[in-house]
Amino acid sequence: MPLPIPIPPPPSPKQMVLATEDWIEYRTGFPTLVRKFLFRKVPPTGWFHTLGSSLLTVFILQATTGMLLAMTYDPSPNGAYESIRYITDYQTLGWLMRGMHKWGASMMVILLFLHMGRTFFYGAYKYPREMTWLTGSLIFVLTMAMGLTGYLLVWDQRAYWASVVAVNINGTAPVLGPFISKFLLAGPVFGAQTISRFYALHMLLIPGAIGALIFVHMWLVVKLGVTPWPSRPPEEEVELPQMVESV
């Protein structure tokens, strides 16, 4: 009589998930990476510590809605306004995508200022987090540049004249000003190529740079840890200088 071979029970759903995770883990190491990123020790935190992740969320929202809008938008002087009108008035849920992109832009700038204020008042820019502050400052400048380049793309009268004024403000900077202005306009005056140049800056160059800087920024946050609420440990209390009575 051959020994009966026990039939293993079918794997449970949990085991299947774990097996899949192991399969990925042995080949890429990503599950460990994600676990180390998400499960970190943090000091006591509050709502102010959520501003950074809110910013990341809004950035992802902007990137997503931006990609969707780009599927319909026509960055040409003769087609831009009509394509925006089509998105807003005719395309299914176009008004929602455009609205989220527009209000998300304002939200990103507001959150950015709040996040920067939190960093400043917590003293989170100090050693060893100077590089986090510097990369954040670059993201701040680039977000402003996103606002400038995106504003023109609506291509109505307000967008046009606001961009004329903004480019001319750049032009008044000493020495480099006229070159910056010509670089932005793709020529000496507002021309047919200006809008496509703004579009390329708004769509590809600046968001790519922001994405790369966000990666560095978050790498530093994970490496250096979250800044605790600033407080002075009791053993480091500063002794006040003794008052000396003048004779």
Binding site: P77, W155, N168, L185, P188
Partner: protein
């Protein structure tokens, strides 16, 4: 074998000694890789940079435009310039459109630089940051940041840094045609026409220019103008 310690069975191997100044094999390969990489980068990067920065060398050009019959502009009484819109490049009406304020002086000389020229044609581009100015009985005013100009286009208030640009014009077959655009500022007390500069940027005082002899003297005979200074009517 003189350096081998007594009793040692090791075969002493001495690497061939290179002269001190020579580069090692590793250093040579490192430098070659970096240098080759830099060359490959330059082959792509230099033309790409030139492609992006080429517009920096472009200068403003003006295409001649026809504003229509002169009779449309001569019905003016007092100072009430006629707004004339034009399109420089018909294939790009949205980016090459402009507006000129045509002031009829009531005189008849068709030479645009003469002291009794029949028209003075102002650009509507504010010299602060480029918003469109509107004409009124006292001159021009800008809605954006409050720039004010008198009837000669000379700044009398607000942030603009120089007078309004002017157009060179001619009359052909009784049509008023704009042939060129000039930026205007004072040089040695004379209103002078310079190659066009963007709003907010000073004119290039060294560039070839045309001196307009009559305008400041006609307006304010006792005022000596300095470059960039604001003339004060008395």
């Amino acid at each position: 074998m003189a350096d081998t310690p007594a009793g040692s069975h090791a075969h002493a191997y001495t690497a061939p000694q290179a002269p001190d100044s020579a580069v090692t094999r590793g250093q040579f390969l490192t430098l070659s890789s970096v240098g080759l990489g830099a060359m490959i980068g330059a082959v792509i990067g230099v033309p790409a940079t030139a492609y992006v920065l080429a517009p920096l060398t472009d200068e403003v050009k003006f295409e001649e435009v026809n504003l229509g019959p002169t009779a449309n502009f001569t019905k003016e009484s007092g100072f009430a310039p006629t707004a004339a819109t034009y399109v420089e490049d018909p294939s790009n009406p949205n980016t090459s459109a402009g507006l000129a304020w045509v002031h009829s002086t009531g005189k008849s000389n068709t030479d645009w630089l003469a002291s009794d020229a029949m028209f003075v044609v102002f650009s509507n581009r504010c010299m602060h940051l480029g918003c469109p100015v509107a004409a009124n009985a006292g001159g021009f005013a800008c809605p954006c940041h409050g720039g004010v100009y008198n009837t000669e286009g000379i700044r009398t208030g607000g942030p603009p840094i120089r007078p309004l640009d002017r157009f060179e014009w001619k009359i052909e077959n009784d049509d008023l045609k704009l042939t060129n655009r000039w930026s205007v500022d004072f040089l040695n007390g004379k209103l002078t026409y310079f190659p066009v500069k963007m709003p907010g940027q000073p004119v290039d005082l060294g560039a070839p220019s045309i001196v307009n002899d009559h305008i400041p003297d006609l307006l304010y005979p006792n005022v000596t103008y300095q470059h960039g200074a604001v003339p004060k009517p008395h």
